[in-house]
Symmetry: D2
Subunit: 307 residues, 4 copies
């Protein structure tokens, strides 16, 4: 497809997404998140041949939130290993809300998967027990292609203060032996990774690496091992969009991960990486405008993996 | 890949799968299923260019069981429509065992998706209310490429007699208004479709259609609409292998659906359809040898969608 | 207390109860029940010295519904034995609604206790497997002191037709091996006992026997064994008022059992038996006016077991 | 009954209880509790006429654990009021284990009742927000009739360190707004009250007050309000013996509360208060020997409230 066309489609997608903003609402469970302008919407595409396409508020900052769960998972699989990681979390969709604890009590002592809160906190515990947050941050800057990514201290403090449900989950995991390190250490790591300030280009860069066999599309350098990619991509398909993952797989058909900050990272294999942003969320906690942008792009550019 | 190589790999896969038989066990909840020879194992590949490869007990009969849920879903989407179908079932992984009723009580009145028992019984109710079983059977024979497929009456009677949990589910759905037709009519349809006698070639033929945009690979005739394919394939990825769907997506990476009769249907997009059979099941109810065959083929032939 | 005073208090209680009728609503899940006049309210007291006190619509007929669960339990304990009965049901409050199935799946294969639907259906199965309904009916007429008690056929048919949730529960119990007899036979027995037509005098007569060590207060004949009484009375305290049993134990403090037909049977040990009726129900399914009558009587006559 | 007889029965009961010790096991979830001698067993009866009867290890110290939940409830009802207390906890049996969180998520934001951990922590939060622990301790010494009751610091520290599940529960309650004060403050109060060192005489003294309308049996002074007694006694009946409350109500028939330290407080209305101790626990967490002592006393002395 010609470059000019991609840009046209992207802008059309953005305008289509914008129409859905009013139907959603801003995340309010973290006071700091509630301050964001609900009407922001932006997107960036990075194609496998290295071209970039931007639309709307593509370069506005927002916090990574749950999207960071995919990067911490990659980091843990790379540095700690698949065996240890999957002794602490499962690989299955939970069928429950992202912050649910029910299955921990009646079904399995380990969280269903690393993309729900419980699972991501377990993985954060593994990393925090062995690495400094700066080690992880360094890796984030590499996969996002921007050196000055940093923690939004206001959001971090707000997450920490309002984080009683996550704290409850973490102590349950400690009780179950899933978290072996200090609970507050694990939570601090988790809240920090959720509070990383990024924009849609950062996400699209990261997505382009996922789309291209783990290689930096500019340098060709292998940044993520292929065996790790299989795991992360598959989990993005089955569990990436909270309680709406199944419908997203059907309607959009791209591996993706959303965050309550309004960002979504998605990609079409060997084709393009996409980052979208829109803080107005649907009932499942996914960006309502961003979801529509991805659906539009999937339709018009034929990005569904079962198109 | 040359034909001779596919056959070699398929035979190696089968021998590898055979080693796992002893670790599994035959389904016993339906008395008639418990009579099957545990050591059977077979597989068929039908490639997109129409070649067939067989191994082991590929032509032994077994009952379709849950694999039929994908065909009844296709039939319902085609003849009754997406809107009606998804007013009765959801699109999300359930995170619970295939025969669980918990979510029906505490979460949602409609079943999580059409591939768990509750969802498939709901879909069966929709069809049974509008069509004869023979109408559906005709469609099965078309997608499987064999005219003389029929109900195994012994298994059907056994399912019907031992089907108290499915009956319990069905009456719960009736209570919730999900089933509008007569419960026994819905169940009779459901038990019949589960009791259809097939072999791995039938499954591979069906899989080849799924792999090739819904077209019959010989005649080129469009048998399944593309918009329907998106739905069914995506659900096979997220929910096709019972409570082991997430791990299968990671380890094998093919859309698939298993049945407790020991069959699994799977495919690699635009490449090949696969049918495997082995009645010895793992703890999740998936053929333990068949699972291994698919994992082996995925590795050696590079069939993972995120390879 | 003088007889005249009891009658005054009873009439005051009734008028107090009447004020609450508007806040409740008629049971509608069984069409036939929905036809009842919401404003009916009545009560009968039978004291241990054999005196009777009536108020309001004391002699209007209504169906026994869940109140019959206490009589079937007594019958089963007497004729089948404690060991068999408590191999099929537990002795613990369920903490869930009376028609819940959740615990059957994630906690215990046998129902929590014989006063929730699941437990009462299990007990009905035990009886129906060994006795005719007429044998049980005979016992009901004895404990209620009226020979011509009979099944309300309209309610019975309505229960049977609308009984999909109970049918679902019954098939689950059959699946778990809790019900060994034919499911429809168990359900038919259950629906019949729920459909028995009674009035508040019948209930008060029955309650007086419970209050007086199992003896008929006129003849002195031992109708219910003392060891059985301990079981039934204790269960009435812990589980008798559906999901409001704990509050009722605190606020009213009498062993009691309610039914969605609007009746409640209650008693003060060695003192009096009480039958109340009012078809307008609170959110837990207890007669809203009847509840208030009992609370009023408990306060004014000092009937709380921990007064 | 003559005094000599009570002592004989008590000693017989103790010897009967002793036979059951081997079938139980010491609580191990708090390391400090695991150090106790499993074979200890003791009991004290204080009759309403002020006589005391002792048997076995009646004067050995143990920690109060969950028995303290009844005293903190009385304290909160007295000083903070019924309305506030029951805005934070319910009055119903939970049907789940004492340390379960499931219902907090799928059913009700407030704990089922004040005698499960979640409910007791909620009540502890209310008190800790308004009083010093010493204020509460003073009340404990009064109802137990011994001035030098104090916190076992080793157990307290052990509870605090091993208290991850209670901490998880507390943060969940904080998230739900049930705990308004600082979580660690609530937990510290809770762990302290659980760690109070007592003996069976202390429990029997407290029980005698419960049995005698809230009055000190020596001085006649009203220590607990009658309206509060109704609440606490009723909750002891419906929820006092963890997941075995229903069976205990049937088999023993006394209001009671157990703790995993091995103590049980129980009483027969207007008759006697009983304290028993035996650290070997049954599967529900109740003293296995102590349970048997109470059952024996109930039988031989006719203490069942429905005897």
């Amino acid at each position: 497809m010609e470059s000019s066309n991609i840009l046209v489609v992207l802008n059309d997608a953005l305008e289509d997404g914008r129409k859905h903003i009013a139907k959603g609402s801003i995340a309010t469970y973290i006071p700091e998140l509630a301050k964001v302008d609900k009407n922001l919407i932006g997107a960036t595409i990075v194609t496998s041949d290295g071209k970039r396409y931007h639309a709307g508020d593509w370069n506005k900052n927002f916090t990574m939130q749950s999207i960071s769960k995919t990067i911490s998972l990659i980091f843990a699989l790379d540095h700690i290993g698949e065996e240890v990681v999957f002794s602490k979390v499962g690989m299955e969709p939970s069928g429950d809300p992202f912050n649910s604890m029910i299955k921990l009590e009646y079904k399995s002592a380990i969280p269903s998967n690393p993309l729900i809160n419980a699972g991501a906190i377990a993985v954060a515990g593994l990393i925090a027990d062995r690495f400094e947050f700066e080690d992880f941050l360094k890796f984030v800057t590499i996969v996002c292609g921007r050196e000055d990514i940093s923690v939004d201290e206001n959001v971090y403090n707000s997450e920490n203060e309002a984080g009683n449900l996550n704290r409850s989950i973490a102590y349950f995991l400690k009780h179950n032996g899933v978290i072996e390190t200090d609970v507050e250490k694990a939570l601090s790591f988790y809240f920090k990774m959720c509070s990383l300030n990024i924009n849609t280009l950062d996400l699209a860069n990261y997505a382009a690496i996922l789309a291209n066999g783990g290689r930096d599309i500019m340098s060709g350098k292998q940044l993520i091992d292929k065996s790790i990619l299989k795991i992360v991509k598959s989990l993005m398909v089955t569990c990436g969009m909270y309680d709406g993952s199944g419908k997203f797989a059907i309607k959009v058909g791209m591996p993706a991960k959303s965050g309550v900050g309004g960002g979504i990272v998605a990609f079409a294999e060997n084709n393009m990486g996409i980052g979208v942003f829109g803080p107005s969320l649907d009932v499942n906690g996914n960006s309502i405008g961003g979801y529509r942008i991805l659906e539009y792009l999937s339709e018009k550019l034929g990005l569904h993996y079962f198109a």
